[in-house]
Symmetry: C2
Subunit: 225 residues, 2 copies
DNA sequence: GTAAAATGTGACTTGGTAGTCATATGACCA
DNA sequence: TGGTCATATGACTACCAAGTCACATTTTAC
């Protein structure tokens, strides 16, 4: 965690440092990110940097907090369009709203996802907490969906979690990559084409999960070769 | 491409260099990979390295060739268990056989996929060719599957390509990450548990694609900016 | 055996990195 | 005013990187 000194900074200056860090990680990933450049681009001295942060990892972890905070704020005042949504409807709303958020913070999202996905940190010790939260929330959703009959009771819980977790990452990454060139990313994400893409991707997932049959040969039958 | 000098090397020595490079990229990714370390770990001199390769990118590109070559050899003598396989059966066989290959070359696969999936997309043009090949092959498969009635004719071609491409990456990554700790990766991949995981994941995808409904608002409607 | 060509070598240059620290600045308080 | 304390600074150390090059060694050709 950044040191107190950092939080004592006037908002403006703090933002300057955060933005420089965001750009750095988005452009270079974690390993190749340079503290020297962050320092230069935020017009603070090297010494100040080390009065604010422990090291490169510390500043990156702060970006995770910033992202979480901004996302929370973004979602706070938005509610699913209807109360009667089943799990798939809810998931669809989550993803679309999430993409809206992403399009308003593309560089921050890119920085974080590039580092997490790329350097393998996503699967490392360090971020397992974050992952666990997402996964647990999903699992809870799925469990109650199965209870309500919204999802086939034969669907394996872990499987559904993996599928939904994966699916949301994939959709988000694909759209951000595709839209990287666009001038107005917010508008692009709201375009009919992208919305249709999301709908179609989710339809595949939804039908796959709704209609999945019980494994033909019941449990494990295992090894071939 | 590596220089002729490299290919003149005795196989043993060449293999030593390749292995050192594989380890390096697998452990550090592209940006953080160090030529100095590759040189040290393969017991060649710095000067020799530059007589073999142009630079870091050159040596990495060679790994791509090595991977392609080994995969080709691996698949050469294996044939789908039955001639009557439809696209999904064929895809399932491809993925299972691919996973078998991966488990016999885990470090090489990790090195390449780490760089390609994570940092690769940031090198623009360079790696898009490789991806294009996979995508084109998939698209051809899908097209003929739709002609044969194996896949719903309403399924959008691009959508199916994206889904199948994504799916295979996800399955492969999940298994490799999960199996990273296992002592005997080959055995792990052949285990009933993993085989069932693959079957279940593919079932979801398969049902999703088979049963997908025609898009509500018919075809592409959406201009973007 | 000798000359020429190919290959191997590692010290060296140049430049970037993370992190430290003595010193300077400025804010706040008595 | 003078003193104290938080903050700012950038030169500096120690290190590691990529890439070069004059020279050593080995292989090949004659």
């Amino acid at each position: 965690m950044p040191k107190q000194t950092f939080f004592n900074l006037p908002n403006e200056k703090r933002q300057l440092v955060v933005n420089a860090a965001i750009d750095e990680f988005a452009n270079y990933g974690f390993e190749a990110a340079s503290i020297n450049r962050i320092v230069a681009n935020s017009s603070i001295s090297k010494g100040s940097f080390y009065q604010y942060f422990e090291d490169k990892l510390d500043v990156f972890k702060h970006l995770l907090d910033v992202l979480a905070e901004e996302k929370t704020v973004f979602f706070r005042d938005r509610h699913p369009p209807s109360q009667g949504l089943d799990i798939f409807g809810y998931f669809r709303w989550m993803i679309k709203t999430g993409m809206e958020f992403n399009s308003t913070n593309p560089v921050l999202v890119k920085a974080v996802s590039r580092v997490l996905l790329s350097e393998g940190m996503y699967y490392g010790q360090l971020f397992s907490d974050i992952r666990k939260k997402t996964i647990d929330a999903l699992r809870e959703m799925i469990r109650s969906a199965k209870n309500n009959g919204e999802m086939d009771a034969n669907v394996d819980e872990d499987l559904a979690v993996t599928v939904m977790d994966t699916w949301s990452n994939v959709i988000s990454n694909n759209i951000l990559n595709e839209g990287a060139q666009k001038k107005d990313l917010v508008k692009y994400v709201k375009s009919a084409k992208v919305q249709k893409y999301i709908d179609d991707m989710l339809s595949v997932m939804e039908h796959g999960l709704r209609n999945v049959k019980p494994s033909l040969e019941d449990g494990q039958k295992g090894s071939e070769q």
